[in-house]
C-alpha cells in the first residue's frame, strides 16, 4: 500500500494550483456575480492540457490516469467551483467518445476539445427525467441516412456555450427491458432546429453555463451515433462511477477551499484581544473541518484508484465517495461561514460563494438519496433496480 503521490502527480497538482491561484481566484467573484462564462480561462486551461488531461495523447490530450485527473478537479474547485466546473466540464461526454467513438469521431470531436477549440457537453436530464434516467423521452428517428431528433433536455452544463453534445435519445421505443432502446448521438449546436436557453438565477456555480436544450426536428448524419444503437444507456452507465468520483473530487476541493480560508481568517480575526483561532470552540471547528476533508479525500482517491486499477468495489466506492464528499463540502462550507461570522455572509469573502456552490454536489450526478440507494443495493447484493 502506498499513500504517496508520484513526483509527476505532485508536479501536476502544484502547477494546476499555481494556475488556479494566479488566474482563477482573483476573478472568481466577478464571474459569480455576473453569471458570466469564463471563455478565456477555459481556453487557457485547455492550452495547458488541463481540460483534456485524460483524453488520450493521440487525440490531443495528455493521457493521464483517472487519479491524476481527480487531483486536477480538486485544485480547480478549491480555487473556485464555478470556474472550476466550467473548465473541467468542457470535456463532458468525452469519455463516451474515447470508449465507443469511431476513429473519425475521435479526431473530429475529441481533438478540438482537448486543444481548447471547442466545448462539449453531455445531455441526459429532461424536464421530467432526473434521477430516473431510463425514462428519457427525447426521440431520435432514422430517416434515410440521418437521425431526426425531437425533445427537450434540461439542466445541461455548457448548454448555451457548447459546440456539440452527446445526447441520450430514445431510438427504439419498442425495445424490451426498461434500459434498452436508448442511444447516444452527437448533436452540433449549429444544426437547424437546435436551440438553447441559458438558465439564470442559480444558487451557486454561477460562472458555469447551464441551459435547457430544445431539439425541433434536428437532423444529424447517421455517423453521429456513438457506439451501438440501442445500447446508449449501458454505455452511459459505464461512466457513472467515474463521473461520481469526479463530483466527489469537486466536494473535496470545495471543502478544502472553505477550510483553508477559514483557517486563514481565524488567525487574522481578533476578538477579546486575541485571534479567534486561540479559542477552543474555533479550534475544534477547524480540526473537524480539516479531518472531514482529508477523510473525504482518501475515499475519493480510493475510488479514483479503483477506476484505474480494480473495479471490484468501484460502484459502491464511487457512490460512497460522492455522497460523503458532497456532504462534507456542504458541512465544511457551512462552518467556514460560521467562523467568518458576519463577514462570511457577504461576498467580500470567498466562503459565502463556497457555501452556495457546495449544495449542487449533493444534487447532480445522482442525488445523495440515489447514492445511498446504490450503496445499500451493493451491500445487500441486489441487482440494478
Amino acid at each position: 500500500m502506498d499513500f504517496a503521490l508520484s513526483d509527476e502527480q505532485k508536479q501536476v497538482r502544484d502547477e494546476v494550483r499555481h494556475f488556479a491561484n494566479e488566474e482563477i481566484v482573483p476573478v472568481a467573484t466577478e464571474y459569480d456575480t455576473e453569471e458570466k462564462f469564463p471563455h478565456d480561462l477555459v481556453e487557457q486551461a485547455a492550452e495547458l492540457g488541463i481540460v483534456g488531461a485524460n483524453v488520450p495523447l493521440e487525440y490531443g490530450g495528455v493521457g493521464y490516469d483517472y487519479l491524476t485527473n481527480i487531483l486536477i478537479v480538486e485544485e480547480l474547485f478549491a480555487a473556485d467551483p464555478g470556474i472550476g466546473l466550467s473548465i473541467s466540464s468542457a470535456a463532458f461526454g468525452a469519455d463516451a467518445l474515447v470508449a465507443f467513438g469511431t476513429e473519425e469521431q475521435k479526431e473530429k470531436f475529441l481533438r478540438p476539445v482537448a486543444e481548447g477549440d471547442a466545448i462539449m457537453g453531455s445531455a441526459i436530464s429532461e424536464p421530467d427525467v432526473g434521477s430516473d434516467v431510463s425514462s428519457v423521452a427525447t426521440s431520435a428517428e432514422k430517416d434515410g441516412d440521418e437521425w431526426v431528433i425531437d425533445g427537450n433536455k434540461m439542466w445541461i452544463t455548457n448548454g448555451s456555450v457548447g459546440d456539440y453534445f452527446v445526447v441520450v435519445c430514445e431510438t427504439d421505443p419498442d425495445a424490451e427491458g426498461r434500459y434498452n432502446g436508448f442511444s447516444q448521438i452527437i448533436v452540433e449546436s449549429d444544426r437547424d432546429g437546435f436551440s438553447a436557453e441559458k438558465i439564470t438565477g442559480k444558487l451557486g456555480i454561477r460562472a458555469s453555463d447551464t441551459a435547457e436544450l430544445l431539439f425541433d426536428g434536428v437532423r444529424v448524419p447517421e455517423e453521429n451515433l456513438v457506439g451501438t444503437r440501442g445500447a446508449g444507456f449501458l454505455q452511459l452507465m459505464q461512466f457513472f462511477d467515474e463521473t461520481r468520483t469526479a463530483v466527489a473530487a469537486q466536494g473535496v476541493g470545495i471543502a478544502r477551499g472553505a477550510a483553508e480560508r477559514a483557517l486563514d481568517y481565524a488567525q487574522e480575526r481578533e476578538q477579546f484581544g486575541q485571534p479567534i483561532s486561540e479559542f477552543q470552540a474555533i479550534q475544534h471547528k477547524l480540526a473537524d473541518m480539516h479531518t472531514q476533508t482529508e477523510a473525504a479525500r482518501q475515499l475519493t482517491y480510493k475510488s479514483a484508484w479503483s477506476v484505474d486499477h480494480a473495479d471490484d468495489d468501484l460502484t459502491q466506492l464511487a457512490s460512497m465517495a460522492k455522497e460523503y464528499a458532497s456532504r462534507v463540502a456542504v458541512d465544511v462550507a457551512d462552518e467556514a461561514v460560521q467562523i467568518h461570522g458576519g463577514a462570511g455572509y457577504v461576498n467580500d469573502f470567498d466562503v459565502e460563494r463556497f457555501y452556495r456552490d457546495a449544495k449542487i454536489t449533493q444534487i447532480y450526478e445522482g442525488t445523495t438519496e440515489i447514492q445511498k440507494n446504490i450503496i445499500a443495493r451493493e451491500l445487500l447484493g441486489k441487482g440494478m433496480v
Binding site: E8, Q11, V12, G49, Y64
Partner: protein, 263 residues
C-alpha cells in the same frame, strides 16, 4: 546553437521560524524555483521557439531535492539537465558565488554553449555575483541585469537592455559566447503545461560529481566563512488607526504633520 541556463532552487522561510545552528531550521523551509531563473528559462525557451536548431540545457548545483525545480524547467521546454553534486559538496556549509561559478564553469567547458543565461541573483543567498563570476572564469563577454534581449544569431551578437538605477536603460551589444544575467520582467514566464510535465519525465537529467567534471576538493575552497545567522531585533513600530475614514484620515494627517512630512 546551444543555450545553457543556470537554475537553482531557493529556500522560502515561513513567517514564523527558528534558527538551528547556522541556518533556519529545515522544518520552516520550503523550496521553489528561483524567481529570476524562471525568467531565464522562459527567455531560453523563447529563443528555442524563435530560432531553429536550438538546444536548451539547464545546469544546477544542488542536492537531489533540487530535481523538482529542474523537472519544472524541463516541463517548460528545456531539453535536458545537468545537476552537479556529490558528498564533498554536500559537506560545505556555504557555496559562495566563486565556488558555484567554478562548478558551473566546468559544466560550461564541457557543453560549450553559445549563450549562458543566469538569474540576476538567487532569492535566498542573494550574492548576485554567480553569473558574472562565471563569465570571468570562462573568459566570455557578459552583461548583467538584462531586461530585454534581441539575439542576432548570424552576427553572433546579443543586443541587450540593462536595467540601471533610477529608471535608466543601458543598450549594449555583447558578442557571443556570452553570459547574461536575466532580470525579472524581461518576459512573462509560462505555466508548465501538463503535456510538458509528462514529457519532462523522460528528458535526460545527468548528475555529475566533482571528479566527473575533472575537479578536486580544491574547487570548493573558499575564503568566505559562514559564522552566524540571527534574527535582527525589530526596531520600527506601527500605529494602527481604527474607526471611520474621515476620523482616521485626520489622525494620520496629524502624525504626518508632527513628523515633519506634511506641511
Amino acid at each position: 546553437m546551444k543555450v545553457l541556463v543556470t537554475v537553482t532552487d531557493v529556500a522560502v522561510v515561513d513567517d514564523e521560524f527558528e534558527i538551528d545552528g547556522l541556518d533556519v531550521d529545515e522544518r520552516y523551509l520550503t523550496y521553489e524555483l528561483n524567481e529570476w531563473d524562471d525568467y531565464a528559462v522562459e527567455e531560453a525557451v523563447q529563443i528555442a521557439e524563435d530560432v531553429t536548431d536550438v538546444e536548451v540545457v539547464t545546469v544546477t548545483v544542488g542536492p537531489e531535492r533540487s530535481e523538482e525545480v529542474i523537472r519544472k524547467a524541463l516541463a517548460k521546454g528545456a531539453d535536458r539537465a545537468v545537476r552537479v553534486w556529490d558528498d564533498a559538496i554536500a559537506e560545505r556549509d556555504l557555496l559562495d558565488a566563486e565556488t558555484k561559478a567554478e562548478l558551473l564553469a566546468a559544466v560550461a567547458r564541457e557543453e560549450e554553449p553559445d549563450l549562458i543565461l543566469s538569474g540576476v541573483q538567487s532569492g535566498d543567498d542573494s550574492f548576485a555575483a554567480t553569473g558574472v563570476t562565471l563569465a570571468e572564469k570562462l573568459g566570455d563577454e557578459w552583461a548583467a541585469v538584462v531586461n530585454q534581449l534581441d539575439l542576432d544569431q548570424d552576427e553572433g551578437l546579443a543586443s541587450v537592455h540593462r536595467e540601471l538605477e533610477g529608471g535608466v536603460d543601458e543598450l549594449t551589444d555583447v558578442e557571443l559566447p556570452a553570459v547574461l544575467t536575466i532580470q525579472t520582467g524581461i518576459n512573462e514566464p509560462r505555466y508548465a503545461s501538463l503535456r510538458g510535465i509528462r514529457q519532462a519525465q523522460n528528458k535526460p537529467l545527468d548528475v555529475k560529481s566533482l571528479e566527473e567534471l575533472g575537479l578536486d576538493g580544491s574547487a570548493l575552497e573558499s575564503p568566505l566563512r559562514w559564522t552566524a545567522t540571527y534574527e535582527p531585533e525589530s526596531e520600527g513600530e506601527a500605529t494602527v488607526f481604527e474607526g471611520a475614514p474621515d476620523e482616521t484620515a485626520g489622525e494620520l494627517a496629524g502624525v504626518l504633520r508632527d513628523e515633519g512630512v506634511g506641511q
